[in-house]
Amino acid sequence: MNTCPENIVLMMHDYLDEEISQEHEKELKTHLQSCEACKTHFHELKKTVALVQSTSHIQAPDNFTQNVMAKLPKEKKKAGMNRWFNRHPLLAAAAVFFILMSGSLMTNWNGGDELSFTQSDQVVVEGNTVVVPEGETVQGDLIVRNGDLRIEGTVEGNVTVVNGQQFMAGAGGVTGEIEEVDQAFEWLWYSIKSAAKELGSFTSNDDE
């Protein structure tokens, strides 16, 4: 092999890198046919490449991805929220609406179990019952919560009883509507209705 020109080995590598010129390839082939030592060398190189390439492809162990994910630094909460919103836009909107609505309404609803009512000089409280005495007239709407209402006089407006009952004496009178609200859901509905009414009255005020 010592007698062989050094560039023969270089040509072998160029050949293996697929970067040999046609001219050199011809020269290499001619040389290999005549030189046993170089032929062995070239054969060994090709065998080496084949052996290295024959190593089987191995796969990452099971749970590799989970293990990596478990080791990552925690992501910002914002990203998790954003992802959720992106995936369920409608649900997200509904959820936000529901949280806000129920939040404000339920605080009203759960405002307490205590009796409360629209302050008025004309009404009298008897235990758990609000009484509009005979001969008295309440100007405006009357709302009673967590208690009963007995009307012996007159109410010039609407009457609403939440979580309670209303009794009307024969002589009593209400000029507006009478409404009893018992359930949380009805309270919700009532709130929405009155909010809408208010909105309506604002717009009609604008018209005037």
Binding site: L16, T48, T55, F64, T65, K71, N82
Partner: protein, 187 residues
């Protein structure tokens, strides 16, 4: 494939970890395989491959989105492997004699589950000896040989991964091939 990867990277940059999970799924086998051939040990390969993905995640903002992601990822992985090889204490090999025993090697201490067919044993032994010879290569030759023949990457890509001129990569491949040729001659 590249466009999916780019999209996922942008999601990761916005802080979406699940998108990174998909990237790991796409590249885990290739990264693990390169690490295994570099280190010659499954346990270490898993360790380093995981580390490579974690580094990629924490440094995702430094990645140039107009370049090939796999090149960048392989650079992280090969650098980690080379660091590990250099830090490693001389390892004991399975076929080294166990001290205090007469002619017993670690092979005889590793339990085999089932008797394997002859051919399979032969091919396994061949695979093991090839891997052992790759592991004996100096790390600068080992990385180019693994990237070229295991990952089948182009010289240009290898030069980008290792941040070396193409000429250097070529020389190292030649020398690595020559070294392996001498080691594998007897097989």
């Amino acid at each position: 494939m590249e466009s999916i990867v780019k999209k996922r990277i942008q999601q990761v940059r916005k802080g979406d970890q699940d998108a990174f999970g998909e990237i790991v799924e796409l590249f885990k086998d290739r990264v693990y395989h390169v690490c295994f051939r570099m280190l010659g040990n499954r346990h270490e390969a898993e360790d380093i491959a995981q580390e490579a993905f974690i580094r990629a995640y924490t440094n995702i903002h430094t990645f140039d989105i107009d370049r090939k992601f796999s090149t960048w990822l392989f650079r992280i992985a090969t650098n980690l492997c080379i660091d590990r090889i250099r830090k490693k204490k001389p390892d004991y090999y399975l076929d080294a004699e166990v001290s205090g025993t007469d002619g017993l090697t670690m092979y005889s201490q590793v339990e085999t589950d089932d008797p394997l067919p002859e051919e399979e044993v032969e091919s396994m032994e061949l695979q093991e000896s090839i891997q052992k010879e790759i592991s004996r290569l100096p790390d600068k030759y080992r990385s180019v040989i693994v990237l070229k023949y295991i990952e089948e990457l182009s010289l240009k890509e290898i030069s980008e991964i290792l941040e070396l001129p193409i000429g250097t990569v070529k020389t190292r491949i030649h020398r690595g091939r020559e070294a392996l040729r001498k080691q594998l001659r007897s097989i």
